[in-house]
Symmetry: C2
């Protein structure tokens, strides 16, 4: 009888004590037996929705040693605890639980291993000068997560309730938020189907979990402009697909094209893929980021341009939305969301109308572009005419500074939310 069967047969109590061995605190080196911790694979509950008021907290008995900020590798170090909420059809949601960081005891027939029934979010917690912890537009992440969850045919949930549970989690992990500008605590909310079945169908159970990883700046030695490979063989997303949701299934297939782009034969290797779409070679996204062009358009107007959210091929990035908002607030140049093509981009490059090009995302905030390789040709992208050595153009830099100053609470802004001390 498998462990998952046992869970279904309600041997939760026995299971829990066995699972205690897997608590984050258990040290195999010394073979010291810890006190059992309740860490079931699925905790069956009867709540009709996420209920943060009933949140349960089991504190780790063996807090981890924190690394020096400089040694952090993106997404490889995790904090002491994780947040978990389970849902089982005909039963309901479990109470949210913050428990020691632990492995899952996942049956090999779990639908997520077979059919990729998984979606996620990425957002960061920042420490401000008053030692308060701040989140940047977390409501938008929870909102998008709900959309992704439903796209997977998984049930909806109360967004405010999940956000409150996440806030409580960040509150508990606040000592893990690095005290240095450029550093933050990366949060990874994830939702996935947990039913053990090979039938291709709506899962009858799911898990919502959040793990956290302290991270340094995306580029260790300052922001470095990247070289893109404009890719027209592989395609990231398409109309009628899922490119506008943050599903796990959008990411796995991009790894091979990304790896091929690094090939030194392509002008010594490219850093990221610029995803083109359709016969018109529409400019869509770069790597796992949205893409912006700042140019003099055909009407001789200064314009910030990015692909629109209309056809379902573009991820509605929160940094993307923030940049559009900030630029519109400045009101200094035209801000446009419309389909633009590789032909337009290259024409502008040849006519010296490109001012700056950059990618935007949670990880790097902005990622300046220095070159684009397309059909065996390398095209240079200007950054800063007054400083040829600059990695980043002036508009890119201003946007980065503005967003960071909001994220670190250096300016008052409704996008930045202080995490309460519960």
């Amino acid at each position: 009888m498998s462990l998952s069967n046992l869970i279904q047969k309600n041997n939760i109590k026995h299971l829990a004590s066995a699972l205690g061995l897997f608590g984050a605190g258990f040290c195999f080196h010394k073979m010291v037996q810890p006190k059992p911790t309740v860490l079931p694979w699925i905790e069956k509950g009867t709540e009709s929705d996420i209920n943060p008021s009933k949140l349960k907290f089991i504190k780790t008995k063996n807090p981890k040693k924190k690394s020096k900020p400089e040694d952090l590798v993106f997404g490889a170090t995790y904090t002491d605890h994780m947040l978990e909420i389970d849902w089982v059809r005909n039963s309901g949601f479990s109470v949210p639980r913050i428990v020691p960081f632990h492995d899952f005891v996942m049956p090999p027939g779990c639908c997520t291993i077979h059919y990729a029934l998984t979606c996620f979010e990425g957002l960061k917690a920042y420490r401000d000068k008053n030692n308060d912890i701040r989140l940047f537009r977390p409501d938008r992440n929870v909102d998008r997560l709900l959309g992704s969850t439903k796209r997977l045919s998984l049930p909806g949930f109360n967004k405010e309730a999940l956000l409150e549970a996440m806030m409580r989690y960040v509150d508990i992990e606040r000592s893990w938020v690095p005290n240095k500008r450029g550093y933050s605590l990366y949060l990874r909310p994830t939702v996935f189907g947990t039913e053990a079945t090979l039938g291709v169908k709506e899962p009858s159970s799911m898990k919502i979990f959040v793990i956290a990883s302290p991270v340094g700046p995306y580029y260790k030695h300052g922001f470095k402009a990247v070289r893109l490979l404009a890719e027209d063989k592989y395609c990231r997303a398409w109309e009628g697909g899922t490119g506008n949701f943050k599903l796990g299934s959008n990411y796995g297939p991009t790894i091979l094209p990304q790896k091929l782009a690094h090939d030194p034969k392509i002008f010594g290797g490219c850093d990221q893929v610029l995803w083109l779409y359709g016969p018109k070679k529409e400019v869509t996204e770069v790597g796992t980021m949205n893409l912006f062009g700042f140019w003099i358009n055909e009407n001789q107007e200064k314009e910030l341009i990015t692909a629109p959210l209309t056809d379902g091929t573009i991820l509605p990035g929160i940094t993307r939305d923030s940049i559009l908002n900030i630029a519109r607030e400045w009101g200094e140049f035209k801000v446009t969301e419309r389909t633009w093509t590789m032909e337009e981009l290259l024409k502008a490059q040849q006519e010296k109308r490109i001012l700056e090009v950059f990618g935007s995302g949670t990880a790097a905030i902005v990622s300046p572009v220095k070159e684009i390789v397309y059909q065996d040709q390398l095209y240079e992208i200007p950054r800063n005419p007054s400083d040829p050595k600059a990695e980043m153009g002036p508009i890119t830099k201003r946007l980065l500074d503005r967003i960071q100053s909001i994220q670190y609470g250096e300016v008052q802004h409704p996008w930045s939310q202080v995490v309460k001390k519960y």
Copy 2:
């Protein structure tokens, strides 16, 4: 410190004894401590490729009770053992191991939970009249699995070696192959990335595993013709995508459209989705099967038609290939792989040139189509003019019978391979 970290630190021995608690044999009811079984999450090995000659077998101490064939639910009951092979970069492949069926101890940062780095196969083992166990074209499944694995940027492996390890596994599980025509043992080879990292990159470790589930006929009360919803809002696959590989990421996104097709408001509900592609509404696949039309074409020729494998949007089905081969061998009508559109299909339906339409796949072999709903219209599809009550047309039936007679070894054919008694 998490379990996965411990594994990386080579505490395999200690881990193994702890993991013994999770052996399939452990009965929580009685709380009897079993002898430890080695069931690590990742077994680090030094083999340069899969090496079936070193296969390790740990027999379950608690064999499961087998259900009555009639009670089987697709993919919900598993046999006593599973096959596992791990790969770790800079180290190599583990020896293949056949171990008691058990859950995985998966870290929450595992790349497959976040980025869907997973692919799989489905094939069946059949019991013939001599009580021998047979596989149907298993080399094709292993071949396709290798292609899918590489598409995920995971390393290649020796196909013959994996096939031999699978044969040994089926040999061990032979008592699980039902002794009844229409019944079989469904095998699910799966490959997924096991690295615990949130970086979107090539995983440094992977697991190959095979589980097996005894299954009954796909349709309990005989083959039943299905109603399809021709879907032009959601799109399964696209050029430059991964539709021609068997990746988990192709399946999760199809579940919501499939669920919506069941809506009773659509003429009482449809059974499956017929995936259309592009502005021309090309006829591609149905549900998780390939689709065939048998018709009188515009040149008044009898023709079996299916979408071609040329643009990467069609899964190269093994049943599809078998049907094409059998029909070509018969030589009684034209057999064509080419793009065909909804317009052509509906024109033929209106001109009464459609003879039969059916889906093909491992699960159902063939799935006759009785109706297609498209843009709020219901179109009837003929099956058997001489028997209006027949669920299946004569060509569909002949193909089904021919394939089954090969699968169950009733006729000699190179596609059917007897599993050796090792």
